[in-house]
């Protein structure tokens, strides 16, 4: 048996190393584990960043050995944070016992899909539903989505950070003017606008600076607010009301901004987004013994939970799947009473869990790395990585990043405020998602891969810790063209 400790949270981990060892040794001695099973066991002690997530406290992950197709490893993943004291033995027994067979699981679970890469899972439809019908969720919970953030506040709206950002941009314009390179139209793009609180504050500050120094840049600004949700764009208007003549509201896919804005190729001087990359579709992979494995997931609801949800909403347990399908199409009006529909949505979302399996990438011809990354590059990147590493591909973030860079003016820069894992080795010391934030999904973003893709595209990429609020977990990614 090999034990992997994947966190450093000594104080807040309910399941300790000694308890885990004791539990498995006892189960072996009692005959719940055969010698063959014991010899192949790999125990992973994780500490999940988000209390609300898609994991059971103890899960078993099967791996098909590369080439052979035969299951040869049993990985037991323990969320050290979720396990309550004294409960580990029963949880492990259940996870490795007869209930862990396909038949046993089928009896206890209502599956919402077949196995997919995480990026293709049904949970992203729930995520989309949340942003499309955010108002419904906010009314039902009685709090705005920002209040749902850890700390209850968005670092994206920090006044000092916004003021410094406006000043930095003003300095760039001043330098360009000095070199007679100031373009007649000064394009700025905000991707993922929220309520445009930041955009409004930024424009206020820039306007004040422009007046203070008499530089007359402000009338030349063309401020583009881009979001895939038309209702979000509508809701963003009041915040930039004072500057409305300079603003354009553009429906765009955050994954592919250049597609909508191709007419601005190499023309945008400043692109900004905050807390957007962490909510884009993602994949997880495992690098093990020089092989890349895809983490495939299958979303399910425990049958017991489904029965409770059905009873609570006055529907038959057999109608749960049908009601979920309608929920994803029409929102809370899936049920005749809106309140019950909302309760169904929220309870279902809370109950969703993932079953996982690992599949060798070589056995998945359609397992594609994000554009800009090849398997050869991945091998290069991972050659100095720890022997075994589970990490995010940040597929959506990489796609968005790569499809944003061509918009940048040669002197332009991209700033992204988000939660980043900046060193691959950090994935051995924490589990950074997927987690649940209200009705949405959150994943930390693999900054190390972003840095690699940026480098190959001719950009330098830096991460600076967010210095404006003590304890903030966000960083600012800053991209500039490499000379």
């Amino acid at each position: 048996m090999i034990l992997h400790l994947n966190h450093t949270r000594r104080d807040s981990a309910a399941a300790s190393m000694s308890e885990v060892v004791e539990t498995f040794l006892t189960l072996f001695e009692e005959g719940h584990l055969s010698a063959a099973q014991f010899a192949r066991l790999q125990i992973y002690l994780d500490w999940l960043q988000y209390k609300q997530n898609f994991r059971e406290p103890v899960t078993v992950v099967q791996t098909a050995e590369a080439g052979s197709g035969a299951p040869s490893r049993v990985d037991v993943r323990i969320d050290s944070r979720q396990v309550s004291p004294g409960s580990l033995r029963e949880l492990v027994k259940k996870a490795i016992g007869p209930a862990n067979t396909d038949a046993g699981k089928a009896k206890d679970r209502i599956y919402l899909e077949h196995f997919h890469s995480l990026r293709s899972s049904i949970v992203w439809s729930f995520n989309q539903l949340y942003w499309q019908r955010l108002k419904d969720w906010e009314v039902a919970t009685g709090k705005s989505y920002e209040k749902a953030l850890p700390g209850g506040v968005s670092d994206g709206h920090n006044p000092q950070a916004i003021s410094d950002s406006a000043k930095e941009f003003w300095r760039l314009l001043k330098e360009l003017e000095t070199r007679s390179q100031l373009p007649p139209e000064i394009f700025i793009l905000e991707i993922g606008v929220g309520l445009a609180t930041r955009a409004g504050m930024w424009l206020d500050r820039f306007c004040a600076l422009d007046q203070e120094y008499g530089t007359k840049y402000y009338p030349h600004l063309r401020f583009l607010l881009g979001d895939y949700s038309l209702s979000t764009l509508d809701r963003s208007r009041p915040a930039v009301k004072k500057h409305i003549d300079l603003c354009s509201f553009i429906a765009l896919d955050a994954l592919d901004p250049i597609k909508t804005l191709s007419f601005l190729r190499h023309k945008v001087l400043h692109v900004h987004s905050s807390n957007m990359y962490d909510n884009l579709p993602d994949d997880e992979v495992v690098w093990r013994e020089n092989h890349l494995y895809w983490v495939q997931v299958r979303a399910y609801i425990p049958a017991e939970e489904a029965a409770k949800i059905a009873a609570n909403c006055g529907i038959s347990p057999t109608d749960v799947l049908k009601t979920i399908k309608r929920l994803l199409e029409v929102g809370a009006d899936t049920l005749p009473e809106h309140e019950k529909g909302m309760a169904f949505w929220m309870n279902t979302w809370n109950a969703i869990r993932f079953e996982e399996r690992l599949v060798d990438a070589l056995d998945l011809p359609d397992a594609e790395l994000p554009a800009g990354l090849s398997y050869q590059q991945m091998e290069d990147i991972l050659k100095d990585a720890p022997g075994e590493l589970r990490f995010h591909l940040s597929s959506g973030a990489l796609e968005s990043f790569r499809n944003t860079l061509p918009l940048l003016h040669p002197r332009g820069y991209l700033q992204v405020q988000d939660i980043f894992v900046t060193d691959l080795a950090d994935y051995c010391m924490g589990f950074y998602g997927p987690g649940k934030l209200d009705g949405s999904i959150v994943n930390w973003v693999n900054g190390a891969l972003l840095r690699e893709v940026a480098h190959r595209a001719g950009y330098d990429l830096h991460f600076a810790p967010f210095q404006y609020r003590a304890g903030s977990k966000t960083s600012i990614l800053y991209t500039t063209q490499r000379e």
């Binding site: 390179q181 373009p183 050869q376 061509p406 040669p410 480098h455 190959r456 595209a457 001719g458």
Partner: protein, 333 residues
């Protein structure tokens, strides 16, 4: 060799295959030998020449596939320039380099590259080198009193190499000077240095000036107006500029200043992977012809095709040739 009206050519570089990129990186990591890399380069260059011929170009280059990038291939050959070999991660990045003393005269070994090109095609050829101004902007100057002084000495050394190239049969030589666009304030001395470089060399000269193409993106933005009238003093026969990506606004400068040079007109956007249709190319050529006589136009892409995938680069060249044929037909030529 007689060329048709509106002769077609590349600016210089052809698509760098990803396998070649990887092999070059392997060479820098000492995983393959110099001998093997040379053979690989020979194969890649032959293939690039064949692609140009198949696309129908009238003037072909060696595709510059032996070069890491437009700077280091030359800087490495200039004696007296110290290179930090640990300073780049991928072969196409720039080395950090510095000049610590006077650059002595030396052969740069470019003639062999040209002879290989000549031996592998029967078409007209063009050989391209990076100019002294662009080179001096990438080398940290720790010896000369000014960039101009450094560039002047680089020109002195390269002039000897150009004479050797001419002796070997190079009839059309292109000097690449994209850094003029990044440092327009240098242009007056840049042209003086350019003329020193070309002095006494018996060949036809083109100068290519774009707004940069590092990693397939522009390094600067602006207008070609900064070139005029200073560039008129350059002792060249052809000026190659980019117009496809930037539009044709600056073409008016050719009416305003009537330069005596041919215009190498960029009609293919090398920073966009969308392949132009022949009709679009024809339209772009017609637009150029409103400002410059067709006898003085050479048709080429905006810049090198280095960063484009091979299939796209080839399709773009073919579209360029087909578009040119449309206009030739309209001209009855």
């Amino acid at each position: 060799m007689t060329l048709p009206i509106l002769p077609t050519t590349m600016v210089g570089s052809y698509s760098m295959p990803s396998w070649l990129e990887r092999l070059k990186t392997d060479y820098f990591a000492r995983r393959i030998s110099r001998h093997d890399l040379d053979e690989i380069h020979d194969c890649a260059v032959r293939s690039a020449i064949k692609d140009q011929e198949m696309a129908g170009l009238d003037i072909v280059t060696d595709g510059e596939l032996r070069r890491d990038n437009m700077i280091d291939y030359f800087v490495e050959r200039l004696p007296g320039i110290h290179i930090d070999r640990s300073s780049k991660k991928f072969y196409y990045d720039f080395y950090d380099s510095e000049v610590l003393g006077k650059i002595p005269m030396a052969a740069l070994g470019l003639v062999d590259d040209f002879k290989f090109l000549l031996a592998n095609t029967e078409r007209a050829t063009k050989f391209c080198i990076t100019g002294p101004h662009s080179l001096c902007k990438r080398v940290r100057n720790k010896y000369y009193p000014s960039d101009e002084a450094l560039a002047t000495d680089i020109a002195r050394v390269m002039n000897m190499e150009l004479k050797e190239l001419a002796k070997a049969g190079a009839k059309l030589i292109q000097i690449d000077e994209p850094y003029y666009s990044g440092f327009p304030e240098d242009l007056s001395w840049g042209v003086k240095v350019l003329n020193l470089l070309l002095e006494g060399v018996n060949a036809k000269f083109a100068v290519h000036i774009c707004y940069g193409n590092r990693y397939g993106k522009p390094s600067w933005e602006g207008s070609y107006r900064y070139l005029f009238p200073t560039i008129l003093d350059a002792k060249i026969q052809q000026l190659s500029l980019e117009f496809a990506r930037r539009g044709g606004e600056d073409l008016d400068l050719f009416r305003e200043f009537s330069p005596p040079f041919e215009l190498g007109a960029g009609v293919i956007d090398v920073k966009d992977q969308a392949v132009e249709t022949p009709d679009i190319v024809a339209e772009r050529i017609r637009k150029v012809m409103k400002f410059v006589a067709s006898e003085k136009i050479v048709v080429l892409p905006d810049c090198g095709l280095f960063h484009l995938p091979r299939d796209i680069a080839f399709a773009k060249l073919r579209a360029m040739v087909d578009g040119t044929k449309i206009v030739r037909k309209e001209l009855g030529r």
